[in-house]
C-alpha cells in the first residue's frame, strides 16, 4: 500500500527543517563574536608583532618600538604566585568537601565557593588591596598573585570536588580493606585516580585568571621597568594592554593590539597543553 503523504506530514517536515535551521543559526551566532574577536585582534596585532616585542622593554613615550618582555615575565610570575596559593588550598578544600560532604562547614564552603566564583573581579581586587597592599603601603607582585589566587580558589575547588566524586567508591573500599587509613586511601588512591582531571582544572583556572586586569590594577599595579621582585609592583600583559590602549599614542595602540594577540596565543597554548598533559596522565591510568 502506498504511503499517503498528507498535509500534516508535510507540515511536520517543514517544521523539522525550520528548527534545524534555527539551531544552526544559533550556533553561528554564538561563534560569530569569537571569530570577530580573533579577527580584529589578530589583524591589528600580528603586524605589530616582532621578535623585539618579546625581548625588549617598553620605550618611553615618543620613541617608537619597544616590547613587553617585562610584562610577559610579570604575568608568568603572577600566575605562579596565584597557583602556589590556589592549588594547595583549593585541592585541600575539595578533599575536605569530598570526604565530609555532610558537615556544616563543608556545606558552608560549597556555598561560599559558588558565591566567590560570581564575585566581580574588581571586588576581588579591592579586597586584595585592603588585605595585601594597604598594610604594607606598597603595590607588589605578591598582592597581585594573591588577588588572582583568590579568584582561582573557587574554580579549583569546584572542579576538583566534582572529579573526586567521580572516582568509584570501590577504589576506596579496596584501599581500606587492605588496612589503609582514610587519609592514606585518599592520598594514595583517590587523588591519583582523579589527577588527570585535576590538572586540567588547574590549567583552565590559570588560563581564566591570566586574562584578568581588574584585580591587578591596584594590587600588582604596573611597572615600566624590568622587575622580578615580589615585593615591588610588577608589569603584567593585561594591565600593560589596558594602559597602552587608553593612551593617546598611535604607537601604544599598536603595542596594545600586539599584547592582546600574545595573550590570546598564550591561551591557545594553555588549552593545548592542558589537553596533552591530561592525555598523557590518562594513559597511565587507563588501558
Amino acid at each position: 500500500m502506498a504511503i499517503q503523504i498528507t498535509a500534516h506530514d508535510r507540515r511536520r517536515k517543514v517544521l523539522s527543517r525550520l528548527v534545524e535551521v534555527a539551531c544552526a543559526g544559533s550556533v553561528m551566532l554564538a561563534l560569530a563574536p569569537l571569530a570577530l574577536v580573533l579577527y580584529f585582534v589578530l589583524s591589528q596585532g600580528l603586524p605589530a608583532l616582532s621578535l623585539a616585542f618579546f625581548t625588549n622593554m617598553p620605550k618611553p613615550v615618543g620613541e617608537p618600538g619597544g616590547g613587553m618582555a617585562n610584562a610577559m615575565i610579570g604575568t608568568l610570575i603572577l600566575l605562579g604566585l596565584a597557583g602556589a596559593l590556589a592549588v594547595p588550598v583549593g585541592i585541600a578544600c575539595a578533599v575536605y568537601l569530598a570526604e565530609y560532604p555532610k558537615r556544616r562547614l563543608a556545606q558552608a564552603a560549597t556555598f561560599a565557593a559558588d558565591i566567590l566564583n560570581g564575585v566581580p573581579s574588581i571586588v576581588i581586587g579591592i579586597f586584595a588591596y585592603v588585605i595585601a597592599v594597604l598594610p604594607f603601603r606598597r603595590f607588589s607582585a605578591l598582592a597581585g598573585g594573591f588577588a588572582l589566587g583568590v579568584m582561582m580558589i573557587p574554580i579549583v575547588v569546584r572542579t576538583t570536588e566534582e572529579l573526586l566524586a567521580l572516582v568509584p567508591p570501590s577504589l576506596r573500599e579496596g584501599a581500606l580493606a587492605l588496612g589503609a587509613t582514610r587519609g592514606r586511601a585518599t592520598w594514595s588512591v583517590i587523588l591519583p585516580a582523579a589527577l588527570p582531571g585535576i590538572v586540567t582544572g588547574v590549567l583552565v583556572a590559570l588560563a581564566r585568571v591570566a586574562g584578568e586586569t581588574a584585580p591587578l590594577l591596584f594590587t600588582s599595579f604596573n611597572n615600566q621597568f624590568w622587575s622580578v621582585r615580589l615585593d615591588k609592583p610588577i608589569a603584567s600583559l593585561t594591565v600593560q594592554i589596558f594602559t597602552y590602549a587608553i593612551a593617546p599614542y598611535e604607537d601604544w595602540h599598536r603595542q596594545a593590539w600586539a599584547g592582546a594577540s600574545v595573550l590570546i596565543g598564550a591561551m591557545l597554548v594553555f588549552s593545548v597543553l592542558a589537553r596533552t598533559v591530561t592525555r598523557r596522565l590518562e594513559r597511565m591510568h587507563r588501558p
Partner: protein
C-alpha cells in the same frame, strides 16, 4: 571436601574443574571466626537476624542464598567494612581467633590487615600492576625494594598470574582483562599475608574460563588461608567449599559440610533452593 560433592556439581553445568576430594573427612578444624547471635541493621531495617556459626580455619566456607538474604552484609561485617556505612549497626559478637572485633577500642586497621577482602567487581587501583600488588606493604611502611619485589612475585604466583604479567609489571593494572584484574586484586589481598580471606562473589563478573582459574586458585589458597566466599553460583559453592551456609531473609537456615547441605539438606527450604525451586 568429601566425595559426595561431585555428584552435587554434576547436576549443573560442568566446567573443567576437578573437585579434588581431600583425604578422608576433615575432622574438627580449629575455629577461625566465631559468630554469635549476630544481627545487622541499617537504621531501622534489620537485614541479618541472630546468626550463630563457627567458621573453621584453613577451609573454604561458602555463603549461599537468594539476593538480599544478608550474606554479603554478614561477610562485610567480618572485617568491619560495614563501618563505612553510617547507619549500619551490628549486634551480637564476632570473634576472630578469639578476639572480639567489635569490642570498643579495637584497631580496625589491624583487623583489616589480618582479614583480606576480594570484591565482587574487581577494583584495581589506577596504578601499575606492581604498585597494586605491593600497596598493602607500602602502607605499612615497607620501602625495601628487594622485599617488595619478592612479595610481588610471591603474591602474583599465589594468584596464578605471574607468568602472564611478569614482563609487564610496570603497565597499568587497568590494561589487564577482567579475570586478570580480579587476580591482581587477589594478589593484592594475599601480599599482606592475611589470616583470613573474604571473597564477595569474586567471579560474578567473569567469564567461565576466568572463573575456573579463580576457583582453582581458591582451592590452592585454602592450604594457607581461611576463606569465606559469598556466591550466587551453587555449582561454584559445591565445587570449591568445604562448608556451606544457606541464608534466607537474613537468617541462617542451614550450615554444614558442603556435601551434606547439597546432597541431604536437613531443611526443606534449603532443598528447594538448591534444586532451583526458588531464588
Amino acid at each position: 571436601m568429601s566425595s559426595d560433592a561431585p555428584a552435587a556439581a554434576e547436576a549443573g553445568i560442568r566446567i573443567k574443574t576437578e573437585v579434588k576430594p581431600t583425604s578422608g573427612p576433615v575432622p574438627d578444624a580449629s575455629v577461625a571466626i566465631e559468630i554469635q547471635g549476630v544481627g545487622i541493621a541499617y537504621g531501622d531495617n534489620q537485614v541479618v537476624h541472630d546468626v550463630t556459626m563457627d567458621i573453621p580455619e584453613q577451609r573454604v566456607t561458602a555463603f549461599i542464598g537468594p539476593s538480599g538474604c544478608g550474606k554479603s552484609t554478614l561477610l562485610r561485617c567480618l572485617n568491619r567494612m560495614n563501618d563505612l556505612i553510617d547507619s549500619a549497626r551490628v549486634m551480637g559478637k564476632i570473634r576472630v581467633k578469639g578476639q572480639d572485633i567489635y569490642a570498643p577500642g579495637t584497631d580496625v586497621i589491624d583487623i583489616r590487615r589480618r582479614i583480606g577482602m576480594v570484591f565482587q567487581k574487581s577494583n584495581p587501583f589506577p596504578k601499575s600492576i606492581f604498585e597494586n600488588v605491593v600497596y598493602g606493604l607500602r602502607i605499612v611502611g615497607v620501602r625495601d625494594r628487594a622485599t617488595l619485589d619478592e612479595a610481588c612475585e610471591r603474591s602474583l604466583r599465589g594468584a596464578a598470574l605471574w607468568e602472564e604479567v611478569r614482563d609487564r609489571l610496570k603497565d597499568s593494572a587497568l590494561s589487564l582483562s577482567g579475570g586478570q584484574q580480579q587476580r591482581v586484586c587477589i594478589a593484592r589481598a594475599i601480599a599482606v599475608e592475611p589470616e583470613i580471606l573474604l571473597m564477595d562473589e569474586p567471579c560474578s563478573a567473569l567469564d567461565p574460563i576466568a572463573t575456573v582459574k579463580i576457583e582453582e586458585l581458591i582451592y590452592a589458597l585454602k592450604e594457607k588461608y581461611t576463606i569465606v566466599i559469598v556466591t550466587h553460583n551453587l555449582q561454584q559453592a559445591a565445587r570449591v567449599s568445604d562448608r556451606t551456609a544457606f541464608f534466607w531473609l537474613g537468617r541462617l537456615v542451614e550450615y554444614g559440610s558442603t556435601s551434606d547441605v547439597f546432597t541431604k539438606p536437613r531443611e526443606k527450604l534449603t532443598e528447594d533452593y538448591i534444586t532451583g525451586r526458588f531464588g
